[in-house]
Amino acid sequence: MGNARKVTRLHGVTAALLAAALALAVLVAGCGGSSDSAGASGGGKLDVVGYSTPESVYQESLEPAFEKTAAGEGISFSNSFGASGDQSRAVVAGQPASVVHFSQAGDMERLVEEGELVSKSWEKQPYGGIATDSVVVLVVRKGNPKGVHSFDDLQTKDVGIVTPNPFSSGSARWNIMAVYGTAINEGKSPAQALEAVKTVLEKTVAQPGSGRDALAAFTQGEGDVLLSYENEAIKAEKEGEDVEYVVPSSTILIETPIAVTESAPEPAAEDFLNYLWSDAGQEIWAENGYRPVNPKLVDPKQFPTPKELFKISQFGGWGKVNDEFFDDETGSVAKIETELGVSTSG
């Protein structure tokens, strides 16, 4: 056996090859896979990160339409959508984002505070930095067999409610504030209003992670009534699901914030946002069931105005509301959820 040295070389060569291959593969994949979003001339890549429901609007309508405009030529998109709170945390954890669109302002503020990823003055954008509006509606089975017409009905009637978990989903927080706000505006005290929230949560049979997940659960047979965005209800009807929806006379105006991130490729990102606020963009939103922020474009037949529409500003804005109601440990809703045995960390 006189091959000791040659044979050593065999293993040495294999070892070196393997190490080199591994390193090379990772590097090549890293360079080839990730796109050059910074400094790409004559085009660019926008990473859109948003809350769960508008995914198809972006992917199927807004982005293709923008790409056809002069400003949008050569721009390509990557998309990531999910529960608003989760998406916000993912961006803080490093997920690439150029344009962020959340369902409540608190998820935007997290990016300002925790990563300086979005400018403090995002609210000074057109329309206060709000991309679209909606309202909280009650989605029911076709024919509304349980006769649910308002948030008060939720408390008095025998229904199983579906609403997302407020600690992962922005949609859920709107739902809860709609219940709370309706009670307050009827003249109830804050404590009584919280009781109303508690009653609703007690009757909740499912708390999925996001607004979209909640719709999926409802259409698959869970519960009798779903609390959701008007645009989700419209989408469900369009998809031919066996449901209908009720716009309560007292409900909250859902305002979903949007902004560009500090690392976004410019001017592409700004151009995209301006497109979303343009008449063309807002009409696309309207076609998909979202209320335009431009009041001139709101068709009252498609989007009836509830008699007692209120806003989150009535309660001090999301900053205050998130602290008071939805803080993981000290929030009043967190306490209710813990009492009911529901996870307050998602």
Binding site: E55, S80, A93, Q95, P96
Partner: protein, 269 residues
């Protein structure tokens, strides 16, 4: 055993066993094929050939192209090591190699997420030199390698044990060096086992969902593999897209099964 009762028991066994398979495996599979093409070829085809769909397919294939060769080289080398060299640590190596069989893909994804994240041990350092692991292809490659690690080793080891060293020794005495012996004697003997392992690894990488879902962020057009694409389409009520991609993956799976069967026969021969 040719009594009437044994014929009866034979038939009841058949009904039980085959009925179970029909309900659990066959029926769902057939239904998906039916639903996909219910409204014709166009809707699923359109979804698959959309930019995101094509990108997802390419990305899945890229994962295979990187992870499988690496694990094959590793697998053969490691098998040689384990079988031909006695070492106290071999049992530990063997145990580690078995881990991917038993760990949840979510746990795998989380581990990678924690290691390479912004607060992880390696994340910040790598970021500084411009290497992004998470939300990007490298992380997905690492996840793919992790889950498909054992297969080539597992298939090669028993063959190496069985064939013994006589032929290799003979080659050596005839003057072949180690490399020649490997190429001309060992490799041909283990090739069907290796091929089988490669097919298994490929299937595993193509089908990987949970771990990749966590490390990639499932960014469509960027880090969305075909299985992730299926989930995304389903979530958006795009059933044609979800079914279309599922059928494609199912066809790939059936091809894998075919390859597995052919190779298994050659391996056993």
């Amino acid at each position: 055993m040719r009594t009437a009762s044994s014929a009866r028991s034979r038939w009841s066994l058949r009904t039980l066993g085959l009925g179970y398979l029909a309900l659990l495996l066959l029926a769902p599979l057939l239904l998906i094929f039916y639903r996909t093409f219910e409204h014709g070829l166009a809707p699923p085809l359109e979804a698959i050939t959309s930019p995101d769909g094509l990108h997802a397919l390419k990305l899945s294939l890229l994962m295979v192209a990187i992870a499988v060769p690496l694990n094959t080289i590793f697998g053969v080398g490691c098998a040689l090591l384990l079988v031909r060299h006695k070492w106290k640590g071999n049992a530990v190596i063997d145990a580690i190699i078995n881990l991917p069989f038993a760990i949840s893909p979510v746990v795998i994804g989380l581990s990678l997420f924690l290691l390479y994240g912004t607060k992880g041990w390696l994340g910040p350092t790598l970021s500084e030199v411009g290497i992004e692991i998470l939300f990007s292809v490298p992380g997905m490659v690492l996840a793919s390698i992790f889950v498909s690690l054992p297969f080539v080793v597992r298939e090669t080891v028993p063959i190496l044990q069985e064939i013994g060293t006589e032929q290799e020794q003979a080659a050596s005495t005839l003057g072949a060096n180690a490399w020649q012996t490997f190429w001309r004697v060992t490799l041909p003997a283990i090739r069907w086992g290796v091929a089988y392992g490669v097919v298994l690894s490929t299937a595993r990488v193509l089908g990987e969902f949970g771990a990749v879902s966590i490390v990639s962020g499932s960014r469509s057009g960027e880090t969305e593999t075909l299985p992730l694409f299926v989930q995304k389409q389903f979530d958006n009520f795009n059933f044609a897209g979800a079914y279309g991609a599922s059928v494609l993956l199912a066809l790939l799976a059936l091809t894998t099964l075919l390859a597995m069967n052919v190779l298994k026969r050659k391996e056993d021969a």
